[in-house]
Amino acid sequence: MTQRLSHIAVIGAAFVGLFLLMPLIAVIPVSFTPKRFLSLPDGALSLRHYKTLVETPQWWEATVLSVQIALFSGLLATALALAFSLGIWMLRPRFAGLLIGLALLPMVAPPVVSALTLYFFLVSAGKLNALIGYDSWLGVVLAHTVMVVPFAVVLISVSLAQVDRRIDLAARAMGAGLARRINSVLLPNIRFGVLTAFFLSFVLSWEEIGVTIFITSVNVVTLPRLMWMGLRDNIDPAIAAVSVVLICIVVMVILTRALILAMGNRRRKKT
């Protein structure tokens, strides 16, 4: 490489990297404090906040609820985004750009405007029926679906863009109908993109908080919502324990992925 990195750049990047990791590392000592308020453990370490997590049904219920909501909104968002992207790819309508833009709107609009909009939707819907409304399970699923569906559309459209149109043309010329083309030709080719879209939708719904604050109060308390309550009123060190658990999960997933990639590279080099 002609242009080597200067030491200044490397040192600068090290500082930025430290800045990015610092708050995640900071929660670890706080989670072992023996006190009831946000503080550093001075001397004695304690597992009391981890014990609270296990023993208080609230935390467990919130986790289960969050997983349920994330599963449903992830599935709904992936299904809607898949049908939409396939339709756009096959039909290539004249206003494709405009239609995709509309579908991506919840992703680019300011989160607080989306939150107010969904609040309006659920309050209005609540006047018409008993199932979908403010602070209802189904309402949260629908709202999360609105917020995560643009990401699913982007991921599925990107993987569709890499499909060779000629294989679809060939299938069509051989007399395959619409369903056959989708099931036997397109879906196998974009399988990975669809799975990634579901995974991302699931994660985004699982940690959604900006909209959730606006549309829930006491009945539907997701895990982020419970954490929010613990952060706002009196900072509860149990949040530190939850955070450490969540950080551990993310770090393990990312390291596993990096390891799998590294092993794949080595195998490819050998052959």
């Binding site: 002609t2 242009q3 990195l5 200067s6 750049a9 490397v10 990047a13 930025v16 990297g17 800045f19 990015l20 990791l21 610092m22 708050p23 995640l24 590392i25 900071a26 929660v27 706080v30 308020f37 946000l38 550093l40 809607l80 985004a81 939409f84 339709g87 039909l91 239609l99 509309l102 709107l105 919840p106 680019v108 609009a109 989160p111 607080v112 405007v113 107010l116 909009t117 969904l118 609040y119 309006f120 939707f121 709202a143 609105v146 619409l178 940690e207 908080i209 604050i213 606006f214 982020p224 954490m227 929010w228 952060l231 949040i239 955070s243 969540l246 950080i247 997933v253 990312i254 990096a258």
Partner: protein
């Protein structure tokens, strides 16, 4: 059934879903803004003339500009190493970007509280070493909000910057070196200008994201440095004035829309080449 009709059946459900759950309700918000408490444009008038709203708008713009500056500079440095560093450096940098990126905004804001609050790690250490005698106020003010928001937004700035850096033609750098330019000159006068569209794109993304930010400022600002998004929340749930909240939302949406058009225009020339 015709082919066009059947494929439209695929496109339809998502648009119908968003229409019912999102587009129509947004029109409802526009409706609120011109009907509550009475029909007319009074809420827009008070949104634009009310001194409280003014000070919140100014604070929002000030914080967003600071966050944009900090994020883009930090992201540029780290993206540089991510794109052009040694394999080990790249791996480390990638972990530093990806791990925070996947961690919930609440955990990250809480981490900053643990670091910056009066009994937090930084104050305890500084006091233990003896540099300061009383804790510094690092959180529940604009400083804390800027730090927390920049932390959240740096990864979003890294991606467009890294993409722009990967597109830089190595031969241009070689040519500049061949003509006798020193390495710092090659960097500032060739490399940085060539990544210009990426810088503009990253800055616009960060700024637009920052404008509508709610969670981080609410936690790290502690109700003192209220930004636009939190003002909307307060006007809905705490001291209700739904018409004003709706009017601010509509104005915010319009402002962000204009920025997005600018963003698209800043990206568009690249695709012509």
């Amino acid at each position: 059934m015709s082919y066009a009709l059947r494929t439209s059946l695929l496109i339809g459900p998502l648009l119908l879903f968003l229409g019912v759950c999102y587009f129509l309700p947004f029109l409802g918000i526009v409706g609120w803004s011109v009907t509550l408490p009475e029909p007319g444009l009074t809420q827009y008038h008070s949104a634009l003339s009310d001194p409280l709203v003014h000070s919140v708008v100014l604070r929002t713009l000030r914080i967003c500009l600071a966050v944009t500056l900090v994020s883009v500079v930090a992201a540029y440095v780290i993206a540089l190493v991510w794109v052009r560093g040694t394999p080990i450096q790249r791996l480390l940098v990638e972990l530093c970007i990806l791990i925070p990126f996947w961690i919930s905004v609440l955990t990250r804001a809480f981490g900053w509280l643990a670091l910056l609050s009066n009994r937090g790690l930084i104050n305890e250490w500084l006091q233990a070493i003896g540099i300061i005698s009383a804790p510094l106020t690092l959180v529940r003010n604009e400083f804390g909000v800027i730090v927390g928001m920049a932390h959240f937004l740096i990864p979003f700035a890294v991606f467009p910057l890294a993409a722009a850096m990967r597109n830089v033609d190595e031969r241009a750098l070689l040519a500049a070196r061949g003509m006798g330019a020193r390495r710092s000159r090659v960097f500032w006068q060739v490399f940085v200008p060539m990544t210009g569209p990426g810088i503009i794109g990253a800055a616009l993304i960060v700024f637009v994201f920052a404008l509508g930010f709610f969670v981080t400022p609410a936690i790290l600002g502690g109700g003192r440095s209220v930004m636009l998004a939190e003002l909307i929340y307060l006007r809905i749930f705490q001291s209700p004035n739904w018409g004003l909240a709706a009017a601010i939302s509509v104005l915010l949406m319009t402002g962000v829309g204009m920025f997005l058009v600018a963003l698209l225009k800043s990206i568009a020339p690249r695709t012509d080449r």
